[in-house]
Symmetry: C2
């Protein structure tokens, strides 16, 4: 959208920018927009539409007559009707005035949206209780956040990484015992520098993409469609793992404080994900202040922890406490150090959040966003450095039953209130970090679906204006991963770094290209240098993580990323094919189609001859794509499959005959004697319509019928065959076993046939 | 059918006897008849049909014109069409000459029955390989059996009961140790007498029901519909348990000989049931000679066993061998004796088979059948008595790992060839006994379905002229029971006797009533006395088994019987309701319906006024049943839901407009701006047809549309609303996730609405 979304790869069906409703300045690139489900037509399509319309002009008769012939008032007067199922509160409907002679649009009310089946209504009631009443699209509005609100909202993900990043690094180093742990400081210094570099790099992105510059947009914008998909794939694994890792770390913070809960790790985690699912379907993302408290509480807790730890350390002359005895499982080597580095760098996941959400700031947005980013990076580095320093001073080493942060809090605060506060705020911020992914992945899928690289169902906006399908997909994926890995943070970390740094790399490489393209802008050299630094460092971390963690699980992340990209490419190809098939392409010959009056057997003078043209114009129809037809070009033959001459069958016959178009009744008989008997009945009835009987001695019903209809199509490929199927509608699904399923089976079997329209004449049983 | 099937409870739709094709003398009452799926009309319905036809006479125009207006030749010349999917061997189709000016009937060939989807074709190929080519209905013919063939075919079930009946009795008696076993002889004597009495009783049935007198028919015929259902319920549990018990006994015969197979009892049994399923779907029941061998082999084996045992016993001066030491688990009491009696009487299950199959004998059928029955009863009693005597003489007691028969064979034949022959023939005859149930239960279900007391799907005749659905139902039910009871014969026996003797009791009580009604026939007093004896004794066994085995499993059998009866009653009630709803009931007013010419907006002079009658004739329509309509009484409004103006939507519009009936396009828009945009497109297209836009701010699509259509129906209940839905047809089901499912969802939601017809205009994607 806007400047930020010029898709170089966009096909003919791409949207015309600036024309979309709701594309005001300062809106999220990924803001929900229900109109996306009904895309605009481009000029070519509009022109085709008017050409097609001209063709109709000759064929369809006077529009005014069609309008005045309507036997109903479409405006309905009152809606829902007085005798509708739930006749309550009619007063709520809103009628819009019609314009330009058009019929007025009617706004639906909650009553008119109620499903008509009891099952649907019950499901709706449950949904209302869980999610609250549906919101109108006009409720899509953005809160603008002050910097002090934006900081906790947008940095929960990044800052919460302190809870697992250092621990993941130490868990690798401790494998080499004391010698390994001596690398803690240098690796931490490199990670801190990395945070700084990536932070500065994202400051450039904020300036360049004031409408929100997620990695997918930036990479796609500057590096092309596939690069955008690579970034998206990295982000998608990132977000899914953010949920899994944050939940597992949060649960670890709880089980560290209350060890008796440890066996229930998986159950608690899945429960938390279910809560996140319900909360996000309900729409928690509006609640900015909710975010502020835990984030600031966590910052305060870690700050206090570092301060108290420093006082303690100063009290003993900055002498580190002795570590427990360690047995080295492996020697110190380059690989070990790189693995520890890759694990530790997960402490900076979530750093990109602010650059996605620039339009959510108060004006001047980009300037406020940059300031907030600077604050966040500073805080992140400070907390990270403080935690590492405290780990060194307190001689803490990771162990299975208690997190590093919990050990630090224990040793400095004792088991009292401050310890509990630290653990609770850790759990809370990790929960919020998981929630960040719930904002971001559905939005990413929305953007991908808008570019037709993800299923359209991710475009749909739920009752509460969230991207429900994306929220559900994220919950399912992260819950599966969480359960598969048994809720163990250490097992998840190797998968994590790959996706994060892949997305960072693509995004920042995209920014390098961006600045090269915008060489006229101020400071482009400096920005490009910062972004190039960030990109190079991110790439190094990505490659390091990919190689050193490959066997530990990174292979799975890489596999998922590759499959994600391939799926997106195929989806795009499929939608392109669909668009092309559905695009209007008026008759190229330019001839005005003949208009033959409809056949009326009742009016003798107007009967057409019994045309039996074997070689109609379009013989090789089924090889072709479907093409336009004007009403006058459609020549009908209705086929009514009849099993018995009962009320359902006769109603279908009457329906078929009422159009005054040719009708052929079809009966499949298992025996010659039954065929003869049916013909007798037909004569008893009066032999009003042509009947054709097929004897099927092997008792097949569907296949002979389909083959016969197929053969009729080949005899006259220009005809539109309408198969009118009487179908008994049962009240309860379990009654279906008492009826044959020939009607639905026939409908399914006829689906692939060209120019065959299937009509169901329902017959409702009284009870 | 024939005399044997005068249903006193048969409703208005009952068939006219003697008029059904294939009802020749000497045919099974349960012979497959494909015409049953398409029942005859009774006189009342025929009259209604001609009255309805007269109504049409005024409305539908000249039949000859309808016929000559047909744009195709229904005879097709060649069929399948030259361009059909698999253009092979056209020469095989048969064309029947048309009669009385009717179009000729075409016989389908195997090609025209081939499903058109590759999945369907693959399934068909698998079926051909497993089952063989389909058979034409004309292949239904009965082998007439000589007595020496009929004996093994029809008595496998009864005679094989020797393999488990005595053992089941001994297994109860041994609980009371040696004191219990001393009751073996008296109980056996009672059972032998019972066999004689029931056998004589069934001799009477054969005379009275020469067309086949199953318990269901006899009880229903003489005692009324519910009694017939009680018998049917007993038979159904009997047949299901026959399969389970025969298979478990057969597997026990195998595991007795090869003990290492014991742990695989369940797997082997399920495999045997699968084989029975496949074989019966293929149609093994024709293979009479196949049955002769194992039955005679079993008779020979047991005969030899008894003879050798007698020689051995004579050699030691008829001194019984010592029994192993027994510890009595309970004391001897009336209850124990009765339980042993009830278990032992399962030795006579299957005794009714010959009376079901009288028409399968060579003429004079009933006389040959009676003779065969006499032979069978004599054999049964002899083998039963011999086995019991041998058990007494050889001091054999039941144990877990080896069957009684196997122990007898071991001790008399040693472990050599004769032992193996005995075990193999036991296993084989039990397999055949199970197969008997495969003939009988599907035929019972067929008869019940013909009386509309079972789902119609049991009427269907499979490719190989078997009742496939009944065969499948029996396999599933018996496999489930077999697995639930772990393949243990002892656990199954308590369920068994209840159903068998309930059916015996009902059947023979029915015969008593039969003879009372036919008091003029010769020997009616003697026959009635025999049947009364059989009925009384059977009733005593039924009650004994029901009470003494109640907690051991008979409760489950009784529960199933009760549920079976209730289900059959409800099914009958349901079908009666359906029949009534589907029956023709012409307009009682007798007025000739007005015939209004179809609306043609193109021809100005013939337009009807924009009728907006709010209070149409049938306002309270949805409370009423569906009624007849002649074509002229149907007034149309087509509604075309449009999401976008693409090719699929425009084709649906053109289809709707081509009928020259009023059309209203309907668009659901999420926002006012999108609504306005859509109207612009509509104008660009030319505004040819009326458009109505509903704004659904909560983004619901289906519910507002359904409510709107519902409201239109209430505005004009006399209109037939045709909802014409464009639907994209995907090539592969997994592509469905890439499209919204609004078309199928809308179709489902519209199903319950009265006078709403749904038409699907398919749009086929090219790839």
């Amino acid at each position: 959208m806007g400047k930020a979304r010029q898709e170089p790869w966009s096909g003919s069906a791409g949207s015309k920018d600036g024309n979309e409703p709701g594309n005001q300045e300062g809106e999220y690139a990924g803001a929900p927009n229900p109109d996306v489900l009904l895309p605009e037509l481009d000029d070519k399509q509009l022109q085709a539409l008017s050409v097609v319309g001209r063709d109709w002009g000759g064929a369809a008769g006077n529009p005014e007559e069609w309008r005045s012939a309507l036997p109903v008032d479409p405006d309905l007067g009152r809606y829902p009707a007085p005798r509708a199922i739930r006749p309550t509160r009619f007063g709520r409907f809103v009628r819009l005035a019609g314009r330009n002679g058009q019929l007025p649009a009617i706004r639906t009310t909650s009553e008119t949206e109620a499903p008509s089946s009891w099952k649907g209504r019950a499901a709706g009631t449950v949904r209302r209780i869980l999610l609250g009443p549906p919101l109108a699209v006009t409720a899509i509005a953005l809160e603008r956040m002050r910097k002090l609100v934006a900081l906790p909202v947008l940095s929960a993900d990044a800052i919460s990484s302190i809870a697992y990043g250092p621990q993941a690094m130490l868990a690798i180093l401790v494998l080499a015992g004391t010698a390994g742990l001596s690398y803690t400081l240098p690796i931490s210094a490199v990670i801190a520098f990395l945070m700084l570099a990536v932070g500065v790099s994202y400051r450039q992105t904020i300036r360049a993409y004031p409408f929100g510059g997620g990695s997918y947009l930036v990479a796609g914008d500057n590096l092309g469609r596939v690069a955008g998909l690579v970034a998206a794939a990295g982000l998608a694994t990132d977000y899914i793992l953010t949920v899994a890792v944050s939940v597992s770390s949060g649960v670890a913070a709880i089980t560290s404080a209350i060890p008796s809960l440890t066996p229930d790790t998986v159950v608690i985690g899945v429960g938390v994900i279910a809560l996140l699912l319900a909360g996000n379907l309900r729409g928690v993302r509006q609640a900015g202040t909710m975010f502020s408290l835990p984030t600031y509480a966590f910052i305060a807790a870690i700050g206090a922890l570092v301060a108290v730890g420093a006082v303690h350390a100063a009290g003993r002359g900055w002498q580190p406490l002795p570590r427990p005895r360690l047995t080295a499982a492996e020697g110190v080597g380059v690989l070990l150090v790189l693995r520890a580095f890759a694990s530790g760098s997960t402490a900076m996941t979530g750093i990109e959040a602010i650059s996605n959400a620039v339009p959510a700031f108060q004006p001047v947005e980009w300037r406020n966003a940059r300031t907030t980013l600077t604050w966040m990076i500073s805080l992140l580095i400070a907390l990270f450095a403080g935690t590492i320093a405290l780990v060194m001073l307190d001689g803490v080493v990771p162990n299975q039953s208690e997190t590093v942060l919990s050990q630090l809090a224990h040793s400095n605060f004792g088991p009292g209130l401050m310890y509990m506060f630290t653990q609770a705020s850790t759990a809370a911020i990790l929960l919020l970090a998981a929630n960040t992914a719930y904002n971001d992945l559905p939005r990413l899928l929305f953007l991908m679906a808008r570019d037709r690289q993800a299923p359209r169902l991710f475009l749909a906006i739920g009752d509460r204006l969230g991207f429900s399908n994306g929220i559900i997909a994220l919950s399912v994926a992260s819950a599966v991963i969480y359960v598969v890995f048994g809720g163990q943070t250490e097992a998840l970390i190797p998968l994590f770094a790959v996706g994060v740094f892949l997305a960072f790399t693509m995004s920042q490489t995209g920014m390098v290209v961006h600045w090269w393209r915008h060489r006229n802008e101020a400071h482009w050299r400096k920005s490009m240098a910062f972004n190039a630094t960030g990109a190079s460092l991110s790439a190094i971390v990505f490659i390091t993580a990919g190689i050193t963690k490959f066997t530990a699980g990174a292979w799975a992340a890489i596999l998922v990323i590759v499959l994600f990209i391939l799926a997106a490419l195929r989806i795009r190809r499929y939608y392109d094919m669909v668009d092309q098939a559905l695009a209007l392409h008026p008759h190229t010959t330019g001839e005005v189609p003949r208009y033959e009056p409809a056949l009326r057997p009742g009016g003798a003078g107007r009967l057409t001859s019994p045309a039996r043209r074997q070689n109609a114009a379009r013989t090789n129809h089924e090889a072709e794509a479907e093409v336009e037809e004007t009403p006058g070009e459609i020549h009908h033959l209705a086929i009514v499959p009849m099993a018995t001459l009962d009320l359902a069958g006769l109603r279908a016959l009457a329906y078929a005959a009422s159009f005054q178009q040719p009708v052929l009744a079809l009966h499949i008989s298992p025996t010659g004697s039954e065929a003869e008997r049916f013909r007798d009945y037909w004569r008893t009835w009066g032999n009003h319509l042509p009947l054709h009987v097929i004897v099927s001695p092997h008792r097949a019903i569907i296949a002979p019928m389909v083959h016969y209809i197929w053969s009729l199509h080949h005899q006259r490929p220009d005809l539109t065959l309408t198969v009118i199927v009487p179908e008994i509608i049962v009240r309860h699904w379990w009654h279906r076993i008492l009826h044959n399923q020939n009607a639905p089976r026939l409908k399914r079997a006829l689906q692939p046939l060209p120019k065959v329209v299937v009509t169901t004449v329902p017959f409702h049983l009284p009870h």
